[in-house]
């Protein structure tokens, strides 16, 4: 039958159908190749840097065997075990997050406060935090809270201005106390307040008072112990109240209240224990480890121009953190404010609308301006016009702030635009004013997106080199910055400078090791952002 034969032919497919399919296959292969080119080159690059940094070939076989036995096997076994049981895996992740986070936050706080002078930091923290705390406590008892929000903001600013104005009078008074007492004010008191709030919300006020007393007594005991042992008590005090207290609180809470997953909190301790065991065996057997350039002395020493194994990048590390920290304070409020105005306030029509469109086009273009040009702007503005001096923290922070401004504005606008209009309508329909709609609905909903944008901007800023060269940030300093107007060094500049050092140990050891430090710093910031965003998304959408 003719018609039946034709339909069978049609089902078999003709040459052009096969050709189309072949084209599709080739296209897919080309896409896979494109993906692999990028990823493989990055992996090779990172492998190369890591190889130069850690020098894995210099270690003996025994060294690897020791660590495979003590570190890799138990950690991998525990991780595999935890993966099979969701509650244990969750407790494990929680324990890692709190231990990593608490250690990171308290160390960074200590490093920054130590560089900027703990007495100054204490002064500004007290004057910035006590007025809003008092206003908040007062507002909790009064029915009318209309003015609480603005009062908190204004009182913080007034407090900081007051501290700056009365600095000459107050600084000697604060200077009387021991340095570790200043750290009690900077770290222990805020931690105590957070613990008190959390405990009183979950249990009772009496328990909260007890918990705070425990924290204070513990801190005091640590300080006294350190004094007796003859150690400067500042770092122990910070580590106890900033890390041990929150870790103890979260781990203890998990062990007590989540019986199914409580074994999971052992995860980080397994890791720490196996590293310690490995180090102990290594020390007692005396095997040859790798001659890594990424050592504690690299992180903690100051720069040394002649000996690569004594050179350290502590001032550069602190400089990068301080510069990026001040930059965040300067740039993020401005950028997010601009984004909110452009997205939520400006009308679409009329001369304002046209002006806004013009602004938006220009902001998108500014995001693509080469960073060297921003360096010139910073040089002209901060050194030549405002006379801030060469390569000071505030000039570097300001220049990098200008650089990331358009990036943050554009990403924050995207985030605000993605908030569904129906939510705004709902809030307006309830009789919310525009400000209330923004504060209670739009900004909380856009917050994860805004956070992602700011973190990307931070990562860009911390690695930026060219503008710092132009505003003449020192490539090599031997001390950390001690204020807004002191000279600072930054990690990327040190990489740039060490690259042309005559000693190959610098070029092929210190440079990749510093790059690894910079990458780890960036990675930690990104991880923090992702964790915060996921946490926030889960809180609002489950």
């Amino acid at each position: 039958m003719a018609s039946g034969g034709a339909s069978v032919d049609r089902l078999h497919g003709s040459t052009d159908v096969r050709l189309e399919r072949l084209k599709g296959r080739l296209f897919e292969i080309a896409l896979v190749a494109a993906t692999l080119v990028g990823i493989v080159s990055l992996v090779v690059l990172f492998g190369y840097i890591a190889f130069d940094t850690f020098q894995p070939l210099t270690a003996s076989i025994q060294w690897y065997l020791i660590y495979i036995g003590t570190l890799v096997t138990p950690t991998a076994a525990f991780t595999l075990y935890a993966r099979r049981h969701p509650p244990i895996r969750e407790a494990n992740a929680k324990a890692f997050a709190v231990i990593g986070g608490a250690l990171l936050v308290s160390l960074v706080t200590y490093i920054v406060a130590d560089a900027l002078d703990p007495y100054d930091v204490l002064l500004y923290v007290l004057f910035g935090a006590i007025p809003p705390a008092v206003i908040g406590a007062y507002a909790r008892r009064s029915p009318d809270r209309t003015y609480t929000g603005p009062a908190v903001v204004v009182s913080t600013l007034v407090g900081i201005a007051l501290a700056a104005g009365l600095y000459g009078v107050l600084r000697p008074i604060v200077g009387i106390i021991a340095q570790w007492v200043a750290y009690v004010g900077i770290v222990t008191l805020p931690v105590g307040a957070i613990v008190a709030q959390s405990v009183s919300r979950r249990w009772s006020l009496r328990r909260a008072a007890l918990a705070v007393a425990l924290v204070l007594v513990g801190t005091l005991a640590v300080a006294v112990g350190a004094l007796v042992a003859g150690i400067e008590p500042s770092l122990p005090v910070v580590l106890f109240s900033g890390a041990v207290v929150p870790i103890g609180y979260v781990v203890g809470d998990t062990v007590a209240n989540e019986p199914e997953g409580r074994i999971g909190v052992l995860g980080p301790f397994v890791l720490i224990g196996s590293v310690a065991l490995g180090a102990f065996i290594e020390r007692s057997v005396g095997v040859q480890g790798p001659e890594s350039y990424l050592t504690p002395s690299l992180l903690l020493n100051s720069w040394h121009g002649r000996n690569a194994f004594e050179a350290g990048i502590y001032p550069q590390l602190v400089g990068s953190i301080v510069i990026v920290g001040f930059m965040s304070l300067l740039a993020f409020p401005v950028a997010i404010g601009a984004a909110v105005y452009l997205e939520e306030y400006v009308s679409d029509s009329g001369w304002r609308g046209r002006l806004a469109t013009l602004l938006e086009v220009n902001i998108s273009n500014l995001a693509g301006v080469p960073s060297v040009v921003y360096g010139l702007l910073g040089l002209a503005l901060f050194r030549n016009t405002l006379g801030f001096g060469t390569g000071v923290v505030i000039a570097a922070a300001g220049t990098l702030g200008f650089l990331i401004l358009p990036i943050v504005i554009v990403s924050a606008q995207e985030a605000l635009r993605s908030v569904p209009d129906s939510l705004r309508q709902a809030a307006y329909g309830m009789g919310a004013s525009r400000w209330q709609t923004l504060r209670t609905v739009v900004i909380p909903e856009a917050f994860p997106g805004i956070l992602t944008g700011t973190i990307l901007a931070l990562a860009r800023a911390i690695g930026e080199t060219a503008p710092l060269v132009i505003i003449a940030v020192a490539t090599t300093t031997y001390t950390s910055p001690d204020g807004l107007f002191s000279t600072a060094a930054a990690l990327p500049l040190q990489i740039f400078a060490a690259r042309s050092h005559p000693d190959p140990a610098f070029r092929h050891g210190i440079v990749p090791a510093t790059a690894v430090v910079l990458l780890i710093l960036m990675l930690m910031m990104n991880t923090t952002a992702i964790l915060l965003r996921n946490r926030y998304d889960r809180d609002t959408h489950e």
């Binding site: 939510l423 307006y428 329909g429 309830m430 909903e445």
Partner: protein, 278 residues
Amino acid sequence: MSEHERTQTQPSTVDAESTVGEDEQSTGARTVIEARDVSVYYGQEQALQDVDLEIPRRQVTAIIGPSGCGKSTFLRCINRMNDLVDAARVDGRLRFDGTDVYGPEVDPVALRRRVGMVFQHPNPFPKSIYDNVAYGLRIHGRTDELDERVERALQRAALFEEVSDQLEKSALALSGGQQQRLCIARCLAVDPEIILMDEPASALDPVATSKIEDLIESLAEEYTVIIVTHNMQQAARISDQTAVFLTGGELAEYDDTDTIFEDPDSQRVEDYITGKFG
């Protein structure tokens, strides 16, 4: 607009009960919303033409008509949601309890606290059920007896039994019908006088729709409900008055729901009701 036409657009209940006629004084107690020559323009385009109608207190008034006839536009005039559209312009006079809604001294934010609104698609905030209902109370600074007010609002919206043990869960975890009743509860929590509903059941399945309809009927004991719907059976089932808008943004007829559906004056309305067009 001539006197004759104006008479025609008066609801007959008002006619029957107020002996004086269709003057403003007579309508005071019964009428809560009074529109006179209301026209709305979006840029050059006219969305509403000289609408005249009076909406009685504590009854359900349905607004029906084909798509694009301006029924939602009229609804959004009442709580000035059209203010949010840059190009929108409103002419004529619209009175709420005798006060001109578009008068210079009227704050739209204050107005919307007395005229609540429920939208076509359920739009709960991405917060907990409790926080959704408490939202209006919190932004208005009425945080005393919050728990009781939230519970009462949920009960009046016939949702409390279903969610009483999960008030801290996200509102987005509820089903579509529950979300819409939550939106109604959110609106009721602040004790508005009028509730505007813009096709509140059009995104819901038949079971959820019938729950919403039951709810609307019970709400009319305490509130004035104005509901836009394109479902004529729904209008016939739940409303006391019906306004029919036809293409071009004109009000074709406004009367008792029974009269509209059984014996409408105009041929066009009859054609629309019986499904000959629209």
